[in-house]
């Protein structure tokens, strides 16, 4: 991701802010300007729920460039408590511990580093809920 693009989107990634259509109520993440369901342009910032459950998951063994050091790692499809489904890396658990339906919550992590001199991209991953 380019530095300007990271900067434009960081606030929304850091705080898990998407958009909600004022007409039909559909929620989107990342943010959108036009509702893909009803074509309305009346979208407002919407703070997503930071808790949800694992719907499906997989283990990445051949990761893209700059994610090699994390391999093998888990990526899950998560249904947030407000109904939106998002894809996120799963952390703080071993592959054999992952179960469909498991309760997870957002955790602020490093996503990617542009070498040792570039910027550090932060954002959300999901971990088992700490109660």
């Amino acid at each position: 991701m380019s530095v300007p693009r990271y900067w434009r989107e960081e606030k929304y990634r850091y705080r898990l802010i998407g958009s909600r259509c004022s007409k039909c109520g559909e929620i989107f993440f990342p943010r959108r300007l036009v509702c893909s369901k009803c074509r309305s342009r009346q979208l407002r910032d919407y703070k997503l729920s930071e808790k949800g459950r694992i719907v499906s998951w997989t283990i990445i063994r051949n990761p893209p460039k700059e994610y090699e050091k994390y391999a093998p790692y888990a990526v899950g499809l998560i249904e947030l408590d407000d109904g939106l489904k998002i894809i996120s890396q799963l952390v703080d658990l071993e592959p054999e511990e992952i179960k469909t339906g498991m309760r997870v919550e957002a955790t602020f992590r490093k996503i990617r580093e542009e070498g040792s001199s570039g910027i550090i991209e932060y954002g959300y991953k999901f971990r088992p809920v700490i109660e």
């Binding site: 994390y70 071993e94 955790t107 602020f108 992590r109 490093k110 550090i120």
Partner: protein
């Protein structure tokens, strides 16, 4: 030091990464030593002082139950800044929604950087310059392989939100005292990965001299004796030092125990004293008086006297207690430790 208006803690939050490295595992690799602690917390590859700070900050916000836009200052005390130039404070402020009307910066004073941030936040709130101020101590410090410090250097932190004393504050400040000299007991030059230290020099003229100086200074100004405090928190570079300084000053083990997290977490540097205070607040009752004394090499101590208020019983269950983070663990071996702490280069 006393404030113009009485300042209190509105919320606190702690975070300790999940990985644990046992002292016996370090002994297995390097031999010779008996580990000074049982095990230490190690950050994952995707964690650093910023991510730990954000975790703590979000927990503190939940307990404080305030609008983050009203936080006028975010200060991060750390010696493990991910960037040499680019503040952690601004990233944390952005992540919690305190931007853009906020002052933000990082403090560096070895292990007392976190409580140095306390002092500034307390001053800003007391003067009326800001409504709320957040101070964080967090570190992912590094120890040279086979060095004595490798057994204890650990990762973790805690955040505190200060505001004027009210029914919403969980503890209020009675006074503080800072005690600083130029003492070369431990240092790390720019671009160096690991610190150097003066071995035995780290004890009497450094840790004990400054902690005792700050503790006695504060108790003298407030007219208190150790028996006036229910709990005491001292910087925890290992298990021996805080116990010895507590005994020297006349505090009981009962006063020390709730905040003594070092045996199972390690020395979280700038996070150490704040984490000890967070753990003590998990146990404290309204009316309890807590003495908090940090120590940072270079060298100095900040001492604080807090009195716990009624709101503690309402607010503390909003977040997991420090013990929950201590018990949440996954053991790693030394080779995994070397990989995730970036001690080998591919």
């Amino acid at each position: 030091m006393k404030t113009n208006s009485t300042v209190g803690i509105l919320g606190y939050g702690a975070y300790v990464p999940m990985n644990r490295l046992k002292g016996s595992e370090i002994c297995r690799i390097w031999g010779g030593y008996e580990s000074p602690i049982e095990e230490k917390a190690v950050a994952n590859m995707d964690e650093d002082a910023v991510t730990i700070s954000v975790e703590c900050a979000k927990y503190a916000l939940k307990r404080a139950n305030i609008n983050p836009e009203e936080i006028g200052a975010v200060y991060v005390g750390t010696e493990s800044k991910p960037y040499a130039v680019k503040p952690c404070g601004s990233i944390v402020a952005e992540a919690i929604g305190a931007t853009p009307k906020v002052t933000a910066a990082d403090y560096e004073f070895a292990c007392k950087a976190g409580t140095e941030a306390f002092q500034t936040c307390i001053g800003l709130v007391s003067s009326g310059m800001v409504k709320y101020a957040m101070a964080i101590g967090a570190d992912t410090a590094q120890g040279r392989p086979a060095d004595a410090l490798e057994y204890t250097v650990a990762c973790g932190g805690a955040a505190f939100i200060f505001g004027l004393k009210s029914n919403s504050t969980i503890a209020y400040l009675e006074g503080s005292y800072s005690f600083v000299t130029d003492t070369p007991d431990f240092w790390r030059r720019g671009l160096e990965m690991y610190p150097r230290h003066g071995n035995r020099f780290t004890g009497d003229p450094a840790y004990f001299y400054h902690i005792i100086g700050a503790a006695k200074g504060l108790m003298g100004e407030l007219g208190y004796n150790p028996s006036d405090f229910t709990y005491a928190v001292f910087h925890q570079p290992n298990v021996k030092f805080p116990i010895k300084v507590a005994r020297t000053l006349g505090f009981t083990m009962d006063a020390l125990k709730p905040g003594l997290v070092v045996p199972l977490v390690g020395n979280t540097y700038a996070g150490s004293t704040p984490l000890g205070l967070a753990s003590t607040l998990d146990f404290a009752n309204p009316g309890d008086r807590i003495l908090v004394v940090s120590y940072g090499s270079g060298a100095g101590s900040d001492a604080f006297s807090f009195v716990v208020q009624d709101a503690i019983t309402r607010d503390r269950d909003l977040d997991p207690p420090v013990s929950r983070f201590i018990n949440r663990k996954r053991y790693i071996d030394y080779s995994t430790y070397v990989k995730i702490r970036g001690k080998i280069i591919r």
